[in-house]
Amino acid sequence: MDRRSFVRGVAGGMALAGGQLLLPRSLLAAGLPSGALESEELYALAGKQPLIKRSFRPPNFETPVAHFSDVITPNDRFFVRWHLASIPQLDPREWRLSIGGDAATQPFDLTLEQLKRDFEQVELVAVCQCSGNRRGLSDPHVFGVQWAYGAMGNARWKGVRLKDVLAKAGVSKDAVEVEFNGADSGALEATPDFVKSIPAWKAMDENTLIAWEMNGEPLPHWNGAPARIVVPGWTATYWMKQVVSIRAIVKPAAGFWMAKAYRVPKGKFSTVDRFTSQETAENTPITEIVVNSLITNVSDGQRVKAGAPLVVKGIAWDAGFGIRSVDVSVDGGRSWQSAELGADPGRFSFRPWQYVFKPSPGRHVVSARATNGLGASQTDQFIFNPAGYNNNVLQRIGVEAA
């Protein structure tokens, strides 16, 4: 049974697992909405390998889970997410980056050549994960791009520190936020431009970059060429693609994409980083990536050989506090054993892990649970929020051993 027909079975209320067992829907993680399953397809954008199409325009495409078997996500498999339909093809020789804002005393423009030449170049590995990754699994379902597991990727980013560029612009102590704008726009003049800001302290973090390269190659067009912002540890909404303007500002940014979108209810999530200049009585902007894991080599309904070693592989990641441990359960969460952690490419990166067991004949429900350096872990149940963010619900993958 392939994944699609399995998940459709779930959506219909009952699931046929391994061709043997009928399980009530409540025992399984919620699947994607039926319409999302019907409209998805594998499709290759120009310069990309086939990805799972969620929408054509704006283009929203996710990486199939199997491609996370590599800790570094290849550029041509890296997910694509845009909010607005007009995405210009920018010529890197003509591209200009404007640095300014009312908290910058010496505004200036940069060419790509100047960006590379005038500041120290740095590299780091970091997870770029859409705030709405796994939204499609929300229970109950919520509006938005109905992502499954693949609205994320891990890459080695090369660029310069944003703080070095801001220093040259003479940013004053009055700066509250630093605001980014990209070259994209909506089809209508009336559509709010996609403009995002981060707190001034986050902009001054030594890990926050203006990057032009990922995995040793220029950024792909669909991932923000010629340059984008990289905010390690924070969700991808702040990683402005095709960045053309950076402004240090003395008042909080007030556009739609900051004031109304990308927010979570206050008090529901135990995140560390706060974005106080944007907080209201009810909600706050999403900030860091919640600790999470993904099983990459075993799929629901898979048949395996009883008594033979089964190697369960996966990745774990968080906002940069570091993965302390990954535990695996093969009995639906009743007992947990430590997985073996693999090489650590850096605290903002995916961390590989594996766990080996010999399944006895019958059905085994496999889950992985990552814990980070702060002791934070994943949740059993989705913490409901209207936009479907911060989904780190434990996977429950049924395998049938015979």
Partner: protein, 97 residues
Amino acid sequence: MKATQALLASAALLACTGALADETRIRMADAPETPTLIANCSGCHSLDYIQMNSRFVKRAGWEAEVKKMVSVMGAPVSEADAAKLVDYLTREYGVAE
């Protein structure tokens, strides 16, 4: 980036060609309101946005979504057309009360 929008419009069309060409494969539920849907919605986004967001909301959910497209995203949809769109989306891409 609105200042550059006019200058970049032709380049943007080129960049989008790959995606645009394949949108023609999207087939929406055929009904008297389908031409109204295409006329009001497909200027800004492909209609698979609607398909993937089905079927899990009742009428109030689609009403809120149409309202958001008009009041937040600036879609110039007449009140008469908005009413037709809500009827169509509820019937074809929603769930019963």
